[in-house]
């Protein structure tokens, strides 16, 4: 096991720059998730760590060795690919033992390592099958087995669950997390799915357009997104973001949406008059208000999920979503009043997109 550090790494394909100076430090034994929309450079970054892509500028170190110019096989990393990349002409046992065989490891030792990995992953009965005789989930496990058998310094996962159906994905998510808790091998996991990132990561790196937007523990990112991009990306259903500006004239700070609707602000915040803001409130932070408090909203759609109720409505001239733990049965067109929880309000500067409140 080893730490991985990425320092000011740049990458471009031909003339298109795809990664603009990314720096991340990954601790020994950590489970780090790189998440971002497609094209944000997360997979490229992972491939650079694996040695499948050159580093144009900057440094990547595994342990204390700079690996920029090392061949993939010299880096002692194992990678799990999105399409599993199993060797189609080899049995499961041969697939898993291939790297050890290349290293001319002792036959008995290979057998033992493959058997124990197969046992961890529940593949013992499938060892003599060919990949095409396996289901998607089983292939996925073989791909992980191939990585485990090597006992590498670092595991790299490149969207390993995206080809699985939803139910299996949830199950494999848990299995991978459990596996990491058992092996404690430094893992870097790339996904575009923020739910995967939230549920699996010890730390998340949110990337966008080749840059790191924010690094932090899942709940820190959720509770205190550093900018508008992270605020919109993390969380499902997504945070409601309402364009507004500061208003003056009253003793307490206040803001108004662009259509003039007044939006309540916490008392400890300072906004200038006319300052362009984005007012962010998560769906679960909207409560039903009575006695004319809160902000008026018109219900358009109600979606009961069983565990909660999602209510989509028009508020301050914008489509927003509120999530209630209780069950409500509003009619479309009904007017309700919603009160944002001021303690968990997110305020951003509209120009820079940066967070304003602490």
């Amino acid at each position: 096991m080893a730490s991985v550090s990425i320092r000011e790494v740049h990458k471009s394909f031909d003339d298109t720059a795809v990664i603009h100076g990314v720096s991340i430090d990954i601790e020994d034994g950590e489970f780090l998730v790189l998440v971002g929309p497609s094209g944000c450079g997360k997979s490229t970054l992972l491939r650079m760590i694996a040695g499948l892509e050159d580093v144009n500028d900057g440094e990547i170190a595994i342990g204390d060795k700079v690996v920029n110019h090392m061949a993939p096989k010299a880096r002692d990393v194992a990678m799990v690919f999105q399409n599993y990349a199993l060797y189609p002409h080899m049995t499961v046992r041969q697939n898993m033992g291939f790297s050890l065989r290349l290293r001319k490891a002792d036959k008995a030792m290979i057998r033992e390592r493959v058997d124990s990995a197969a046992q961890i992953l529940g593949l013992t009965d499938l060892l003599n099958r060919l990949p095409r005789q396996l289901s998607g989930g089983e292939r996925q496990r073989v791909a992980m087995g191939r990585a485990i058998v090597r006992d590498p310094q670092v595991f790299l996962f490149d969207e390993p669950l995206s080809n699985l159906d939803a139910k299996l994905r949830v199950q494999m998510r848990t299995e991978i997390k459990a596996l990491h808790q058992r092996l404690r091998t430094t893992s870097i996991y790339v996904t575009h799915d923020q739910v995967e990132a939230m549920t699996m990561a010890e730390r998340i790196v949110v990337m966008n357009l080749g840059q790191v937007e924010q690094v932090g523990r899942p709940l820190d990112l959720y509770d205190r997104p550093a900018n508008l991009f992270v605020a919109g990306f993390i969380g499902s259903p997504a945070m409601n973001l309402i364009e507004a500006s500061g208003t003056a004239g009253s003793a307490t700070p206040a803001a108004a949406a662009d259509d003039g609707t007044a939006l309540p602000l916490p008392a400890d915040i300072r906004v200038g008059e006319g300052q362009p803001l984005v007012y962010g409130v998560r769906p679960e932070d909207l409560a039903l208000a009575t006695n004319g408090a809160g902000v008026e909203a018109t219900v358009s759609v109600v979606e009961p999920t069983g565990s909660s109720t999602l209510v989509f409505c028009q508020m301050a001239g914008q489509e927003i979503c509120a999530e209630f733990q209780e069950r409500h049965d509003f009619d479309p067109g009904e007017t309700i009043r919603l009160m944002p929880r001021l303690e968990t309000l997110h305020l951003f500067d509209r120009e820079s997109g940066q967070r304003l409140n602490a």
């Binding site: 040695g51 990349a85 060797y87 002409h89 290349l102 290293r103 095409r132």
Partner: protein, 298 residues
């Protein structure tokens, strides 16, 4: 109205059959009909013209007693074996080299394929001149001052069959390369990356991961080359004419000369049937495997 719709429906159904019927009938008559006719003739005592007196397996007994026929079969074994092996080796090597993301691939690929566009007659004639000791390679190198250089295989009874191998390999290697190149392009790039991370050197990568996955390409190449070897006729005629003497006689040239110039139509037909069976032995298992096994998506 009702009748019109019926007629249109009938026409729509029948049209494909109507369009295909002439070529289908032609094929049935001229390919399969004449196969049956030839097979029948091989059991008759036909000489210069077809006769219909059945004489059982006599022609086959005579055929396998002929020194001439066994030479043809021996030559086929030498030629076929070397031709298939060398073409496969060169084709695979060229394909692997061409697959290294080199710059001039677009120019080189058609260059290698080009010989395939020539008729075997052209190839044979060109190589006949090139290999002729009096006017070709030997003469040229000697006139340049390498007086001791000798390359007279084409005039040598022992070696002449190998000149046919050389010319045939020159013609077909590029085509085999195209088969392998398509196979290489079909291999999932991620699998190659996975093998690199697993620690495979380039040599191991090809030996253990890539070449084993080219099995379908090997099979296609083998079937194409094997049937071309068995029916090779024009190249032999153009290059050596079956000579010197009968040193490069092949089953196809044998069949032609016995049927049409030596007035032994019965024996010629017998040799044709044997060739058909050889080709069937190659192609039928291939077709069977191809048609039976549904393609697996990976």
């Amino acid at each position: 109205m009702e009748y019109g719709r019926y007629l249109r429906g009938w026409a729509q159904q029948a049209l494909p059959r109507l369009v295909l019927a002439p070529s289908f009938a032609t094929i049935v008559l001229f390919v399969y009909g004449f196969i049956v006719f030839t097979a029948y003739l091989s059991f008759t005592n036909s000489r210069i013209l077809p006769k219909f007196n059945l004489i059982g397996f006599e022609n086959y007994e005579k055929l396998f007693g002929l020194r001439h026929w066994s030479t043809a079969i021996e030559n086929l074994v030498i030629f076929g074996g070397l031709y298939i092996a060398i073409c496969t080796a060169i084709g695979l090597t060229l394909a692997i080299l061409l697959d290294q993301k080199i710059r001039a691939e677009g120019v080189l690929r058609p260059l290698y394929l080009y010989p395939m566009a020539l008729s075997f007659i052209v190839t044979g004639t060109a190589w006949k001149w090139f290999l002729d000791p009096g006017i070709g390679l030997e003469q040229t190198l000697q006139s340049w001052g390498w007086a001791s250089f000798e390359f007279d295989w084409i005039k040598n009874r022992q070696m002449a069959i190998y000149t046919i191998v050389i010319a045939a390999v020159w013609q077909t290697s590029g085509f085999v390369m195209a088969i392998f190149l398509a196979g290489l392009r079909g291999i999932d790039n991620e699998i190659i990356k996975a093998a690199q991370i697993d620690g495979a050197s380039n040599l191991r990568l090809y030996a253990r991961i890539i070449i084993p996955q080219l099995r379908p390409a090997f099979l296609s190449a083998f079937v194409v080359l094997a049937h071309m070897a068995i029916k090779s006729y024009d190249l032999v005629v153009a290059l050596t004419g079956g000579g010197p003497g009968r040193a490069t006689e092949m089953p196809a040239t044998f069949m032609y000369s016995y049927t049409f110039t030596r007035n032994q139509m019965g024996i010629g037909a017998g040799s044709a049937v044997i060739m058909l069976m050889m080709i069937a032995a190659v192609i039928v298992p291939y077709l069977y495997a191809e048609l039976r096994e549904p393609r697996h998506g990976r």
